[in-house]
C-alpha cells in the first residue's frame, strides 16, 4: 500500500497497512470487523472493554491472537483518524472513497463515515447556569436570639443538569461576590475591545 489517502493520513501507519492487506484478501469476517469497530468507538469514548468481551471475539474469529491485535490496532488508528478530521475539512464522500480504497465495503465505509456525526467523546463538562433568582430576607427573630434584624441574600440558581440550587449568602460574602463579578466584567470588556 504505497499511495497514502489524503484526508486520513499523511503517511499510512503500519497497522492500517496490515489491516488493509487483510481486508483486501477477504480474510476478515464482517461480524468480527464490526465488533472491532465498535470496540474502537467505545475506547475512544473512554469506556473499558472487559476481558471476557475480548476473549469472545478471539474465540469467534478463529484468528491467532497476535493477528487480531494487529487488526484491532489498525481499526483503532483508522477510527481515530476519521474522528480527528477537522469539521471544515471533513468530506463524507472523500472519506468513504478512501476507506473503500483501503479495503472496506461500501456499507462499512458509510458506517465509519457516519460515526463522525454521531459519536462524541465522553468529556466532562461543567453545568450551565440557566437562570437565577434572588431574595433579600430580613431575619426578625430566631430560636436563639430574640431580636436579630439581619439581612441575608437568598439566591436560587437554575442549573442545566441538576435543577435549582438555593444558597444563603451573608452580606459580607455578597459584597465579595459583587466585586468578583465586577472584576470579571471589566476583564471581559477588555477582551472584547
Amino acid at each position: 500500500m504505497n499511495a497514502s489517502p489524503n484526508l486520513l493520513f499523511a503517511v499510512v501507519p503500519k497497522p492500517v497497512e496490515q489491516l488493509s492487506k487483510q481486508l483486501q484478501s477477504k480474510m476478515v469476517d464482517p461480524v468480527v470487523l464490526q465488533t472491532l469497530i465498535n470496540f474502537s468507538i467505545r475506547y475512544w469514548k473512554g469506556e473499558e472493554i472487559c476481558h471476557s468481551e475480548w476473549k469472545n471475539i478471539v474465540k469467534e474469529s478463529y484468528f491467532p491472537l497476535t493477528l487480531l491485535e494487529e487488526l484491532f490496532s489498525g481499526v483503532l488508528n483508522l477510527i481515530f483518524a476519521v474522528l480527528r478530521i477537522p469539521e471544515k475539512l471533513f468530506s463524507p464522500k472523500c472519506v468513504c472513497d478512501e476507506l473503500i480504497q483501503l479495503g472496506f465495503t461500501m456499507e462499512q465505509a458509510k458506517y465509519i463515515t457516519n460515526l463522525k456525526t454521531t459519536s462524541k467523546p465522553d468529556t466532562p463538562s461543567f453545568m450551565k447556569l440557566l437562570g437565577a433568582n434572588w431574595r433579600i430576607d430580613v431575619t426578625i427573630s430566631t430560636s436563639n436570639v430574640c431580636r436579630v434584624l439581619e439581612p441575608w441574600i437568598l439566591m436560587e440558581f437554575n442549573l442545566s443538569s441538576e435543577g435549582p440550587k438555593t444558597i444563603h449568602i451573608p452580606l459580607a460574602q455578597f459584597h465579595s461576590l459583587r466585586y468578583q463579578v465586577a472584576s470579571c466584567l471589566t476583564q471581559l470588556n477588555k477582551l472584547s475591545v
Binding site: 431574595r135 430576607d137 431575619t139 430566631t142 441575608w152
Partner: protein, 70 residues
C-alpha cells in the same frame, strides 16, 4: 408514614422578604425551621421554609396532637 427518624433538635427563624427578583414575594413573612434528625445511622439536617399560612396549619396540627396526648 415513615417512623425511622427521631427529632434531636429544632431551631426556627422568623423573617420577612424585603426585596426579590419575583415581585410577589416582597413583603411575605416566612418561618424557617431547621430540624436535626437521628436516622439511626447518622444525624441529618432538614431545612424547610413555611409561609405564614403553612406555619399556622402546622401549629394547628401540633396543637391537635398535644390535645390528643392529654
Amino acid at each position: 408514614m415513615a417512623t425511622n427518624s427521631q427529632l434531636v433538635d429544632l431551631a426556627w427563624e422568623l423573617g420577612v422578604t424585603a426585596a426579590s427578583s419575583c415581585e410577589e414575594q416582597v413583603g411575605q413573612t416566612y418561618v424557617r425551621i431547621k430540624m436535626k434528625l437521628n436516622t439511626g445511622k447518622s444525624l441529618e439536617t432538614v431545612l424547610m421554609e413555611l409561609s405564614l399560612k403553612q406555619f399556622y396549619d402546622l401549629l394547628h396540627e401540633l396543637e391537635k396532637t398535644q390535645n390528643m396526648m392529654k
